[in-house]
């Protein structure tokens, strides 16, 4: 048996996303099973059926110098803003309409 990975497109124009995997003796079986598992309830516009061996997995990513500004979680806008405000001697307003980035208050890259 071969493992096949199935990717599902929910609506036309949307990206294909991983739906799951299945075991099948060959491609014909895999396509038929993918149809039953991921298509017959109207949940997919289309599916891609790919033997797992055709998927190239990469799981090593060098980041030796900790350049954390490359990372989505590595750069706190909140902290930077706080520092900037202190430097400017300007406390944040509680209810602000002028600057949307103050209202959201989140960590943005």
């Amino acid at each position: 048996m071969t493992i096949f990975e199935v990717f599902r497109q929910e609506r036309k124009g949307q990206p294909y996303q991983h739906a799951g995997s299945l075991a099948a003796p060959d491609e014909r079986f895999a396509e038929e099973y993918a149809r039953e598992f991921y298509g017959r309830r109207g949940e997919s516009e289309a599916v891609w059926v790919v033997p797992r061996s055709a998927v190239h997995e990469i799981d090593d990513f060098a980041d030796e110098l900790e350049r954390n500004y490359h990372r989505v979680d590595g750069y706190s806008l909140k902290e930077k803003l706080k520092e900037a405000r202190l430097a400017a001697g300007n406390a944040p307003r509680r209810q602000g309409g002028a600057d949307p980035s103050l209202r959201s208050g989140g960590d943005e890259p």
Partner: protein, 225 residues
């Protein structure tokens, strides 16, 4: 065809699909693997769905309901071909042999119906055929898979030889000859000339299938669900 004749013809088709769907559903939970379990159960559901649509059409002609036709007749009143009545669990080889033979015969029948002058019948046949396409793909790929290994091939060949006379009973006349030609052209082994097990008689296995199938309905006659 008058409406009585049409209803009787539709009933034969509907009974075939209902009973085969029921038999195929006996594999739910115990098919060779999980993927096949889902696929074969889905085919079983489709067949029962086709039966319902056919019963509804027949019920209109006969002034009754699909449920009454499906469940309120005595076993001897069913018009099914004995092929679909046989119980094969847990023999996957015979199950696939029947699946292939039935789908091949059904294709001949459905093709003729899509060209019928009766627009209602032709329309329904076309709808049913759009699902049957996948049943045929499924049957064909299993046929090839079983033919590819020695042990499976022997078991399949034995099963086909056993079921061949039954499968001839699904169709009559020129459709039977067409079916026979397609099967002989497809299988890599010879099939003996055989006398068809005709519609009208029933397999012994129908009795217990009928008991099970109608049990809930008989428990509270006339109830609506």
């Amino acid at each position: 065809m008058n409406s009585q004749g049409r209803a009787e013809f539709l009933l034969a088709l509907a009974d075939d699909e209902l009973l085969l769907g029921w038999r195929d559903s006996e594999w739910t939970g115990i098919a060779p693997d999980l993927e096949e379990d889902v696929a074969f159960s889905s085919i079983a559901q489709n067949e029962i769905g086709h039966a319902r649509a056919l019963y509804e059409l027949a019920a209109r002609d006969l002034g009754t309901t699909a449920d009454e036709l499906a469940f309120d007749r005595a076993p001897e009143e069913y018009r099914s071909a004995p092929l679909v009545e046989l119980r094969f669990v847990p023999d996957w080889g015979r199950t696939i042999a029947r699946h292939y033979l039935y789908e091949t015969a059904d294709a001949v029948r459905i093709e003729a119906l899509t060209a019928a002058a009766d627009e209602e019948v032709a329309g329904l046949a076309a709808k049913i055929d759009r699902e049957e396409v996948y049943h045929r793909i499924h049957a064909e790929m299993w046929l090839d898979r079983l033919l590819a290994s020695e042990e499976a091939r022997v078991r399949l060949e034995t099963a086909v030889a056993e079921l061949w006379p039954y499968s001839l009973g699904i169709l009559a006349g020129s459709q039977r000859r067409e079916f026979s030609g397609r099967v002989r052209g497809r299988l890599p082994f010879d099939l003996a000339e055989a006398e068809a097990v005709e519609r009208g008689g029933h397999a012994e296995a129908l009795e217990s299938l009928w008991e099970e199938m109608t049990e809930v309905r008989r428990s509270v006659p006339g109830a609506t669900w």
